[in-house]
């Protein structure tokens, strides 16, 4: 009889619990195909230039951060279409408050997070208490935010102090701060989903709200909580973007398609739209896939409008790759 040491059994336990989502294969394939196309049709930098590869990841940070929040909401069988304008209002408000003054930063940041909490709370309450369909509820809220932004600002507003640009451009050693922060957000997201009571309840509510309710889970609170978390990730994304752009503009959110892209990457990553299953690591792969495609389009010099067309098609096909297997009629 052999005795296993403590470390060996820990290793066994953790390796059993880590399952790599199948989307990572898709990611590798995408990377290779894009690299190949790039070699053939362009100057082949994707596969050869490590700076480009790093760039792919940096480009994915904004989407990545907000996709974590969207993943949580979708696991709870809801959805959030207001993230794009939440990003916009964060970008605009933060640079408006900061006005290039480092002393204002500690005021601006809590302020925008506060706005994020209000937006998430509004979304959650409209969905749970007014019983409005999540698509309509969050779309309606996004319209309201859009109106408020456009009523107050029409162009680039204010500016971000140099110190704040560290978020967007700083590096620790040779690794950009932005990537570290994104990974941190993913880790926090993973932790909340996999290692907290809230996360367990969120999976329950998304999987079968009735079963959860009968077991005593406060389903309304869980959904509202998920929406608040999602809005907070949108705020963080907005702060990142504004630190890169140095000034906030109202069109930042919608232009980046953060609403649709966050949904699509979540779905490609293996999280079901119907809720109850999935996780953030699959979403990370989805985000990277989108990042690679984006960079490839740029490398190949694809017309920006054609890019829009391709993005629309990719989003539909990405979701279709999962829904096509379902037996229920879609509406």
């Amino acid at each position: 009889m052999t005795t296993t040491t403590a470390t060996e059994s820990w290793f066994k336990r953790t390796s059993r619990s880590i399952h790599i989502p199948p989307v990572y294969i898709f990611l590798i394939v995408t990377f290779l195909v894009s690299g190949l196309l790039d070699q053939i049709l362009s100057d082949g930098q994707i596969l050869t230039n490590p700076a480009i590869m790093l760039n792919i990841i940096v480009r994915s940070v904004a989407l990545g951060i907000v996709a974590v929040g969207q993943t949580m909401v979708i696991i709870g069988a809801s959805i959030d279409l207001s993230v794009a304008y939440t990003i916009s209002i964060t970008a605009v408000m933060s640079s408006y408050i900061m006005l290039g003054d480092p002393a204002k930063v500690p005021i601006a940041i809590p302020a925008v997070f506060g706005i994020g909490v209000i937006i998430g709370l509004a979304n959650g309450l409209i969905i749970t208490k007014l019983k409005v369909n999540p698509f309509i509820a969050t779309l309606g809220v996004s319209l309201i935010i859009k109106g408020i932004i456009n009523a107050t600002f029409s162009n680039y507003t204010g500016s971000v102090p140099k110190s704040f640009e560290y978020f967007g451009y700083g590096t620790i050693g040779s690794i950009p701060v932005s990537i570290i922060i994104m990974l941190f957000v993913f880790l926090v997201g993973w932790f909340i989903l996999a290692r907290t009571k809230f996360g367990a309840h969120l999976y329950g509510v998304g999987g079968n709200a009735e079963v959860a309710r009968l077991s005593g889970v406060r389903t309304d609170r869980v959904v509202i909580g998920a929406h608040i978390l999602c809005s907070l990730t949108a705020v963080l994304s907005g702060l990142f973007l504004v630190s890169q752009m140095r000034s906030g503009a109202p069109w930042v959110g919608p232009n980046g398609l953060y609403d649709l892209n966050s949904i699509a990457t979540t779905v490609i990553g293996g999280t079901a739209l119907s809720g109850g299953k999935g996780g953030v690591w699959g979403t990370l792969a989805g985000v990277l896939i989108f990042g690679i495609l984006d960079t490839t389009f740029n490398q190949l010099g694809v017309n920006p409008y054609l890019k829009m067309v391709l993005r629309g098609a990719i989003i539909i096909l990405a979701v279709a790759s999962y829904t096509i297997r379902s037996k229920k009629e879609a509406a």
Binding site: S17, A200, Y203, G204, S215, V217, G276
Partner: protein, 528 residues
């Protein structure tokens, strides 16, 4: 003979205090009395089976005991203390656990997560997964299955029997004193049933009071010490298993006076040639289906819940088509792959659940009635105010045929009574000119007066030469309406009985064996 059996409810009270007691429980739903003054005692360390036909009140009683329903009158006691539950969670916390046929589990979560949902061990909101898994193992150990089921396994990866074990583990984790199970053996194989029986003995040894509903008398006799028979919401008798035989129990379950009027059965002149012939048909649920349906007759299909009756109609109508075998309609071989094809072949299907499958609730009566006609007509044909062009009178005519009581055909069907709703569904199929009708529970949830009306209509259909296959859980309806009776059990046809067979004959065939064959069957199974 049954009268000689002692009713233990009339014996002097036992020395042990009952774990749970219900007294004078009554419950009624619109149009039906589900429970009528039922009083029972359940003792620790005992397995108590509650049997009865479909609709006898067993489910309702269990739901009241587990907090899903509140009784209209009566009281409940748990360990001598009076209790009342307004939410299943309250019952759970007091130690009454129920396991339904459709499990209350989250398939995409682990066993441990399912067991401890909403009670996860945590510190400052962070889960202590190691402790959860350990606690899960402890609970599984109490059932003796800790080697079979890992706490980290996803519920969706477990077999049905294993999922049931998880549900039981969940109950144990609530320190349940009373465990209620609804048809626990319905989805299990013979070996799995044996395991369950052992498990239940284990639980009994720990002092738990196990109550279960079952139609399978073989298992009832294997597992239970006491058997309570309910009929039409009333308590008939509670007997001790060792004092009775299965036939005794069946006799107690059925046998009533026919107080409901049925139209006269068909006569041989009414029956014509074979319209529908099914041979050796099977699919993923049914096997070995063979029968014939003749013009002008009502073929009743009896059987217990889960015996495959609804699936039979669904297969015939193309909802869940047959995969092998043959089907002949009017002598010609056909394959019904979907409902549209069935309708083209002039078949009609009055489904069991009219609300979710038969009607469009917010549409007017008129439009519901005409749906089958419209679906085969030219898509863009125009409609005048009163209905389809050329059929301005069709709707009132149909309404009259089915005797609908309504002031206007423009009323949304969701506002009609159950009886009238069913008539609308019937009218829809009459309009489609079907000559083979499948009825699934045609009068479920309908008041007595409308019931009689629908029975008359079904007979009127056969007088016109239409062939009717009628599925019903109500034995009086089967006996009162059928010119022949098919009995189903375990997803096959168990046999055929002539008109006016007795309820006992039907029930015994539905349970799976004639009364004197039980011992043979038990012995045969033991050899597996």
């Amino acid at each position: 003979m049954a009268n000689e059996i002692d009713d233990i409810n009339t014996k002097p009270a036992e020395e042990k205090q009952p774990t749970m007691e219900v007294q004078h429980i009554s419950k009624r739903f619109p149009g039906v009395i589900a429970l009528d003054d039922v009083s029972l005692q359940f003792f620790p360390g005992e397995t108590h089976a509650v049997v009865g036909e479909n609709g006898a009140g067993k489910s309702t009683l269990m739901k009241i005991m587990s907090g899903a329903y509140t009784p209209d009158s009566g009281t409940m006691y748990l360990g001598g203390e009076k209790v009342s539950f307004s939410h299943p969670q309250q019952a759970q916390l007091k130690g009454v656990a129920i396991i339904y046929q459709e499990f209350n589990l989250l398939p995409e979560r682990t066993v441990a997560h399912n067991i401890f949902l909403a009670r996860e061990s945590s510190h400052l909101g962070t889960l202590n997964i190691q402790k959860m898994n350990k606690d899960a193992v402890e609970v599984l150990k109490e059932l003796g299955v800790e080697k079979m089921i890992l706490p980290t396994a996803l519920v969706s990866s477990l077999s049905v029997a294993e999922q049931q074990l998880v549900e039981i583990a969940k109950a144990i984790s609530f320190k349940a004193k009373v465990l209620i199970m609804d048809e626990p053996t319905a989805a299990l194989t013979y070996t799995e049933v044996d395991l369950l029986v052992n498990l239940i003995s284990r639980l009994k040894q720990k002092g738990m009071s196990v109550i279960f509903i079952s139609h399978r008398l073989r298992e009832v006799f294997d597992i239970a010490e006491k058997i309570t028979v309910l009929k039409d919401g009333k308590l008939i008798k509670t007997v001790v298993k060792k004092d009775v035989t299965p036939s005794d129990v069946v006799y107690l379950m059925v046998g009533r006076t026919l107080d409901h009027y049925f139209p006269p059965l068909g006569t041989p002149e009414d029956f014509g040639e074979v319209v529908l012939k099914v041979s050796n048909a099977s699919n993923q649920i049914l096997s070995d289906i063979n029968f014939e349906l003749r013009r002008g007759e009502v073929l009743g299909v009896a059987g217990l819940q889960g015996s495959g009756r609804t699936e039979l109609a669904q297969s015939l109508f193309g909802v869940m088509p047959f995969k092998t075998g043959n089907m002949e309609l009017h002598g010609k071989a056909i394959a019904v792959k979907n409902p549209a094809k069935a309708i083209k072949n002039r078949m009609g299907f009055v489904t069991e659940d009219r609300k979710s499958e038969g009607l469009a609730p917010r549409q007017p009566i008129r439009d519901n009635m005409l749906l089958t006609v419209r679906s085969v007509q030219f898509l863009f044909s125009l409609i005048l105010k009163d209905g389809i062009r050329k059929s301005r009178n069709l709707v009132p005519m149909l309404g009259e045929q089915v005797d609908i009581r309504t002031d206007s055909f423009d009323r949304e069907v969701q506002f009609l009574s159950g009886g009238n709703q069913q008539k609308v569904v019937l009218a829809k199929w009459l309009a489609s000119d079907a000559d083979v009708f499948f009825f699934d529970e045609p009068t479920r949830g309908i008041d007595v007066e409308s019931k009689a009306g629908i029975h008359d209509m079904i007979r009127a259909l056969t007088k016109r030469g239409i062939a009717v296959l009628m599925i019903s859980s109500e034995l009086p309806e089967i006996i009162g309406m059928s010119d022949r009776i098919l009995v189903m059990a375990d997803h096959r046809i168990a046999g055929e009985l002539p008109a006016r067979s007795s309820e006992q004959e039907i029930m015994l065939m539905a349970i799976g064996h004639a009364s004197d064959k039980i011992t043979e069957l038990t012995a045969a199974v033991g050899e597996n």
